[in-house]
Amino acid sequence: MSGVRLLVGTRKGAFVLTADGKRDKWDVSGPHFGGWEIYHLKGSPADPDRLWASQSSGWFGQIIQRSDDGGRTWDPVGNDFQYAGVPGTHQWYDGTPHPWEFARVWHLEPSLGDPDVVHAGVEDAALFRSTDGGATWAERPGLREHGSGPRWQPGAGGMCLHTILADPADARRMWVAISAAGVFRTLDGGDSWEPANRGLRSEGIPDPDAEVGHCVHHLALHPSRPDTLFMQKHWDVMRSDDGGASWREISGDLPTDFGFVIDVHAHEPETIYVVPIKSDSEHYPPDGRLRVYRSRTGGDEWEPLTDGLPQSDCYVNVLRDAMAVDRLDDCGIYFGTTGGQVYGSADGGDTWSAIVRDLPAVLSVEVQTLP
């Protein structure tokens, strides 16, 4: 029987949650790397036993771990992230030039086809790639050096490259998102990049329609429609139907269009999910009610999903990489909270239950659908 494996990164370690296809009974393994911040874990689409984990701490820096047996055992691989050449400066919070400094890996994106190839999105924002199973890492400098880099500024969480999307139909096309610079697109496999922010409007920057400077929180796409991208921006939920060349707002009737996560149903490319958060300073659900909002129309019209989620006194946040969907026939949706809960729905979001309730603050949730 098929099953699912949830990979959960938290402030104090990683957890692996597994269930069969019914998804009603879960085995919890962890903490792995106890005491370390695990910003992200993800499995290789080409080899589901190969997992990657970003392990970091304020004391001892960045470690990358790799498992070749589905998370039972792990081995550290290379952790040498050196910017190419002289990295120059970006803008600091006060607008002064600040040298690029590596802090941590926010996101690991394994190749769709080669288990030895993986991209890493890092803070200060840059894109790295390993082609040897994580032993060595090389920056793709065309992104940081394409021209607007000196104008990039950090968001509240740091200047991080947090989202990496690969086009399943065209290995040369990728998108990345950086807080607070925006979306960038490559059409040549990562050698050269261009901003892809036309249509975004951010009131908190001097020129609301600027080419760069937007605090994009997360991107998602459905593999069958790689020209359509969905975005949760700092404020505003957006979509693009031309591969990121232009964007339009689809916040519609959401109670607030601030938030971090966004994802797409595995089998319905126009069904999307967000978790509205009250505001950029009040990082919790409006009215203390944790609600996932679903649109079956690709945006604009949204319905709250509440069955099984706390509807009073709930003041957790759901961070940008903390939602994922499985690919079983009845699509499963999962998200983790800063309160340590991981919620799951095995029916596309109609009903929810807590898989675990008391983990450390959840930073990321990924899911693997197992044969």
């Binding site: 005491g35 370390w36 304020g58 004391w59 001892f60 952790n79 040498d80």
Partner: protein, 104 residues
């Protein structure tokens, strides 16, 4: 004839012991007289996973929340070529890598 070497005992913090896969103190061979930089070089050579965890790979600057103690003295701010005390060279005292008290 090779450079004379001494064996230096090193105490690592728990997280780095886990990373390196060691249980207690470790020992490294270091050119005599042993220096801070020499001990760190030897540690990283013997346990490559420790590269970047105690000092920056490029600048070799100590990570801010890592401290170096030896024979009840704080060597955290000493230069890399600082010679460690005779008690460390003689194996009577360990060189201690410490995770700074931080985090509340």
């Amino acid at each position: 004839m090779g450079v004379p070497a001494v064996t230096v005992r090193v105490v690592l913090p728990a997280h780095l012991r886990t990373l390196a896969g060691v249980g207690g103190e470790v020992e490294v061979e270091v050119a005599d007289p042993p220096t801070i930089g020499g001990v760190l070089d030897a540690l990283e050579a013997r346990y490559p996973v420790l590269g970047g965890t105690m000092r920056d790979r490029a600048t070799l600057r100590r990570r801010p929340f890592v401290r170096f103690f030896a024979d009840e003295e704080d060597y955290s701010h000493a230069a890399a070529d600082t010679v460690l005390p005779e008690t460390v060279a003689a194996g009577k005292e360990p060189f201690c890598v410490v995770g700074a008290m931080a985090g509340g």
